[in-house]
Structures are given as structure tokens and as C-alpha cells.
Amino acid sequence: MKNRLKVLRAERDWTQADLANALAVSRQTANAIEKGKFDPSLPLAFKIARLFNLTVEDIFIDDEHT
């Protein structure tokens, strides 16, 4: 699943470690989600959305509907 995390993070001048800290996950996990290697659970996806004040759909793009 693609996502806009890298752009959103860059807009706020956050490092992956900052994002990982804010989400209480490892940097490995933040990186894997950002690169689309790992799809987060629904609770973590909502947590990410809350962090950026966006909806889940604004951040994650379903590959099957693109």
C-alpha cells in the first residue's frame, strides 16, 4: 500500500526517528511503513492519521483503486 508519509514528514521537517517516537514504534517500523513494505494495523493507521490531522484515506492509497 502506497502512502504520503515521506512527504508529510518532510513538510514538518521530521526525521524517521521523530516519527517513530511520536508513534511509539521502532524506526525500522516507521521506515518499513513509509516505504510501503509493511502495512500498519488499523489502530496504527488511525494513530498516524491523528498525528498529521488527516484521515487515513488522505495518507494511505489503496493500490487496487489507483
Binding site: 517516537n21 511509539a24 525500522q28 494495523s41
Partner: protein, 140 residues
């Protein structure tokens, strides 16, 4: 306070404590295994009461180790948990398939010695370590 290791793994004081507890309980369980194995022969001369006490201690420490491991798993983040659970699944599968095949080897006269559980434990340990490394590399 939360630290991020160079390899990207998360390391809170809570996380470190869990790993330390897991290591200590594993060491205690290993020590009880050695005591059970060699105590009867070298310390209490096969007296059943001592052997039963050593066996009960060994089992109790094993249960404690499992519970600490479950707690450790619960405190991992979801990717770390997936990597660990995948590695456990592969290890269980390899252990079951290789264990049954290995056990048959003597029966069908392909080996002349009796299969030992230690060999299976070593295979499972190596499988688990490789699976963890491959999993971490996959999501690097």
C-alpha cells in the same frame, strides 16, 4: 525516555528491562536443566525426592520463562512482533518436519546412531536466528 538503536529497533527502559528479564529467566531455566541432568548423578546420588524437586523447579522456571517471553512479545511493536512470530512459525514447522524425518532415520536404517533431541534443538535455534535475521533484512 526512549532511545532508537542504530539498527532502528526501539529501546525504551521498559523494553530493555523485558529483554533483561527474558535473558535472566532463560539462564535460570538452562541452569535448572543442567542441575536436573547432572545433579542426580553428581550431587544427590539419584535420591528420588531431590530429583522430583529439581524436576518441579525446572518445570516452574520453564513456565516462568514462557510467561516472560509472552510479555516480551506483547511489548514489541507490530512489525517486530510480525518478524518474531514469522520466525517462530518457521522454526516450529522446520522442527516438526525435520524432527519427524530425523526420528525415522534410525528406523529405516539410514543412520546407525539414535537421534538426539539436542540436534533438533540446535537446528531449531539456528532456524530461528536465521529467520529473525532474514525478517529484519526484509523490512530494513
Amino acid at each position: 525516555m526512549k532511545d532508537i538503536n542504530q539498527d532502528g529497533t526501539i529501546c525504551t527502559p521498559h523494553h530493555k528491562t523485558n529483554i533483561l528479564h527474558l535473558g535472566l529467566w532463560t539462564l535460570a531455566w538452562l541452569a535448572s536443566t543442567a542441575l536436573l541432568r547432572f545433579g542426580a548423578e553428581y550431587i544427590w546420588d539419584y535420591q528420588p525426592a531431590y530429583s522430583i524437586a529439581a524436576l518441579m523447579t525446572h518445570l516452574a522456571l520453564g513456565v516462568a520463562m514462557i510467561m516472560v517471553n509472552v510479555k516480551h512479545l506483547a511489548n514489541l511493536d507490530e512489525l517486530q512482533r510480525k518478524i518474531t512470530m514469522d520466525a517462530m512459525g518457521i522454526t516450529l514447522g522446520v522442527g516438526l518436519i525435520a524432527g519427524i524425518a530425523y526420528e525415522q532415520l534410525e528406523d529405516i536404517k539410514l543412520i546407525s546412531f539414535e537421534p538426539e533431541i539436542n540436534h533438533l534443538i540446535m537446528l531449531m535455534s539456528i532456524t530461528y536466528i536465521i529467520s529473525i535475521l532474514v525478517g529484519n533484512r526484509k523490512y530494513k
